[in-house]
Amino acid sequence: MPGIVSYGAYLPYWRLGRAAIGTALGSGGGSGSRSVASYDEDTTSMGVEAGRRLLATVPAGYQPGLLAFATTAPAYADKTNAAIIHAALALSGSLPAFDAVGAVRSGVGATWIAQAAGGVAVLADIRTGRPGSSDEAGGGDAAVALAFGTDGVIAEVVAAASVTAEFVDRWRTPGAAFSKQWEERFGEHAYGPLVDQAVTEALKAADITADELDHVIVTGTHARAVKAARATFGARPDAVTADLTVEVGYTGTAHWALLLADVLDRAEPGQMIAVVHLADGVDVWLLRTTDAIAAHTPARTVRQAIEATRGELSYAQFLTWRGFLQREPPRRPEPERPAAPPSLRTDAWKYAFVGSRDENGFVHLPPSRVSMAGGAIDQMEPAPMADVPATIATFTVDRLAFSLSPPVVAAVIDFDGGGRFQCELTDVDPATVAIGDRVAMTFRRLYTTDGVHNYFWKARLLAAPTASDQED
């Protein structure tokens, strides 16, 4: 049976201190901070970033059996968001890619389907609520990807159990900007017995007791029921993991996987991990780490990712990015929608950032049929550049251009080993950009026109010009 062979977690650069909410509104907020997807990110683009981190650490020769994407905040309905992730990750054309969208529980479903097929599950969410709500303060944005296979398994699936129950606790009609929740104490009442039933069944199937669990992850859509469940089923208190709600917030479909990634970052061989997920029922998954985990090094640990979320955002900017505050744009025309036929023709370029390299090694971005050096025609090979770091040659801050979050910071960047490109910088403080700064590419949603999302690549600053260029 396929087990976990790799995982990748992505947290956006920005975070909002909850105190900022209280300061602005006069009440609410709380302590700690929540992660915030940038204005140019959505669940699809964040899913791509998680997938890139995943693919950086899969076993050599890994071929997924399918791609399953889950979110409560899909960028598209009717159209498959997983197909965009598939294109950006340059996965095989014969790989099926499916969405499971709408409910928080979809994340578990997508994962279990991916596990059965030896595939990749990508779980991403952007969570918020009405200004001043606990959903707004308590939510977070993240994406996690999990790869399943039979070779190089770092955590095998020992048992699974589920209980499904229908009751009205949390709901949102399609298109609504926020969710609603029934009186909190009701949910606690409804979830309690379901947790007991599912955990008992899973432990029985694995033939272990709760105190044999080394890591216990309990999370779900109902904070109060989750808190109660952590204490009820007999796990050792020291085994129950921190739920990262103070540092990140509750990240919906992605959250249990984010906590699992955090556990796998530090787990040792032979440890038992329980995942208990409360969402319209309860799903329990028991995993056991293998010897291979000792040799597995994540592209970046969850804790490192949390530390790297250094962009302190103002509450006004947060509200603007989430669409609750409509602000005056520059007096410039809105961008035109990307056209479908040219986007299909340049698929590998637009989605996977693949240029072309001529016989002399000159890299053309975008790909070109005619060589800049020598004029040879159609003598090119693909040049995948998404994972190549680059250096800023010159830059500007455009205060007039249309942007969902002015000003536009644009740079000319030169890639290590050849290739130049002009692109936007993102996750950046315009005041600190300098010639010579090191950057890496990141997949973003540039803008949306006529309901068509324009996905493409931007550059973001690497933290420091060091060996850490490999990731952040």
Partner: protein, 399 residues
């Protein structure tokens, strides 16, 4: 360079130029009527005497009908040309060639742009349907790439660069203040320029050319016929136009401190005109100062200053109205305004005016002192990916 040139084969015998500015009360049709009427009157010919027309506009109309309809041209060839911000120069160049090859006796080159009807700030250009992967920044942003690159290469600190750019804007405003056709007709203190709201990079509002409406036109005939129309014709010495391979944005060897297209078109033009030392031989130059860093870099690309020294020459006043080589004596794009399709012909209008000694308060002394050639330079696109036009004109045929 494989161009043979048409030195002294054709001459300008009449020109017209509207005022440039925010002409809320005049349409592109009105501007075309005004500029063409002035040019015809200047040459002493009627519309029916003109055999063919070249119309330059980037966005104010399509096809020759854009000119023939408002002027009621009676079944004559009208060619619409477009080449970004060098559109007006391109209309002129093609018109000159048509006369030089003998196809026509009298032609008109006319450029027009109506920018202020768009409702947006700055220049707005529509693109063909595309995949949405191109960098969408404004014109000031793409030209502002020059400033940090130049500063980095030649060791200037940000304040020094700002001083240089400010002085260019100050100089062009000062010249424009003397020009009754200019969009901005007042001197602007350096402090005001330096402290103006930022638009892109270090560029403030005052580092940008004026967004304006306007039109300019020229009547061109064979050189041997010129004196039938004008006592003081202006002869075409050189016409060079180059489109680059757009290498800058993809070639790491390009450093954003030069326009290779300008270097090459200048070499070609100097060769055609027989100019060996442009700084010493030219009476003046009208150059494409769309943004202040552009004029800075052009001084080196056109051979007016050594590489890395243009900023010192700017600060020393070399290119002032009373300097060694006056640049943009009419105020340039900065102060005269930049109605795209008209600008190239507006530059020629200043050369025509100065060479004929008709520039009034801003008449430069170099012409009376014996320098009889003027240069116009017009580019379109962005650093690393542009088209460049250079002409040399003079009021005397070479021996």
């Amino acid at each position: 360079m494989a161009s043979h040139g048409i030195r002294d084969a054709v001459a300008i015998v009449g020109m017209g130029c509207t005022t440039f500015g925010e002409h809320w009360d005049r349409s592109a049709d009105d501007l075309l009527v005004d500029a063409s009427s002035d040019a015809l009157a200047s040459a002493g010919v009627a519309l029916d005497d003109v055999d063919a027309f070249w119309l330059g506009t980037m966005g104010s109309g399509l096809s020759g009908l854009t000119l023939s309809r408002p002027l009621k041209i009676d079944h004559k060839p009208v060619t619409h040309v477009e080449n970004y911000c060098a559109t007006g120069s391109e209309a002129f160049r093609n018109a000159c060639y048509a006369v030089a090859c003998g196809a026509y006796d009298v032609v008109m080159a006319i450029g027009v742009e109506k920018l202020k009807d768009s409702g947006y700030s700055g220049l707005v250009v529509g693109n063909p349907a595309n995949d949405g992967t191109g960098l969408s920044v404004t014109a000031p942003a793409s030209f502002s790439f020059l400033a940090p690159a130049y500063a980095n290469k030649y060791g200037l600190d940000p304040d020094e660069v700002k001083d240089v750019l400010t002085r260019i804007a100050w100089k062009n405003h000062r010249n424009g203040a003397l020009n009754p056709r200019a969009q901005f007709r007042k001197e602007v203190p350096k402090e005001t320029i330096a402290c103006s709201p930022l638009v892109a990079g270090p560029l403030g509002i005052f580092d940008c050319s004026g967004v304006s409406d306007g039109s300019a036109a020229a009547i061109i005939v064979r050189a041997e016929d010129a004196h039938r129309y004008s006592d003081h014709p202006v002869y075409v010495k050189a016409l060079s136009f180059i489109a680059g391979p757009a290498a800058g944005p993809i070639d790491p060897s390009y450093d954003y401190t030069t326009f290779t297209e300008v270097v090459r078109s200048a070499e070609d033009a100097y060769h055609q005109a027989g100019i060996e030392d442009p700084r010493a031989e030219l009476a003046m130059a009208e150059v494409h100062d769309c943004f202040t860093p552009t004029e800075l870099v052009l001084m080196e690309d056109l051979g007016f200053a050594e590489r890395g020294f243009a900023w010192k020459e700017v600060l020393a006043g070399t290119f002032d109205l009373d300097g060694e080589l006056p640049v943009n004596p009419d105020g340039g794009l900065k102060s005269f305004g930049h109605p795209i399709g008209a600008s190239g012909l507006r530059m020629l209008f200043e050369a025509w005016t100065q060479l004929r000694g008709e520039a009034g308060d801003r008449q430069i002394s170099s012409i009376a002192a014996g320098k009889r050639k003027a240069l116009t330079h017009n580019l379109g696109g962005a650093p690393g990916a542009c088209v460049s036009f250079v002409s040399v004109v003079g009021d005397q045929p070479d021996a």
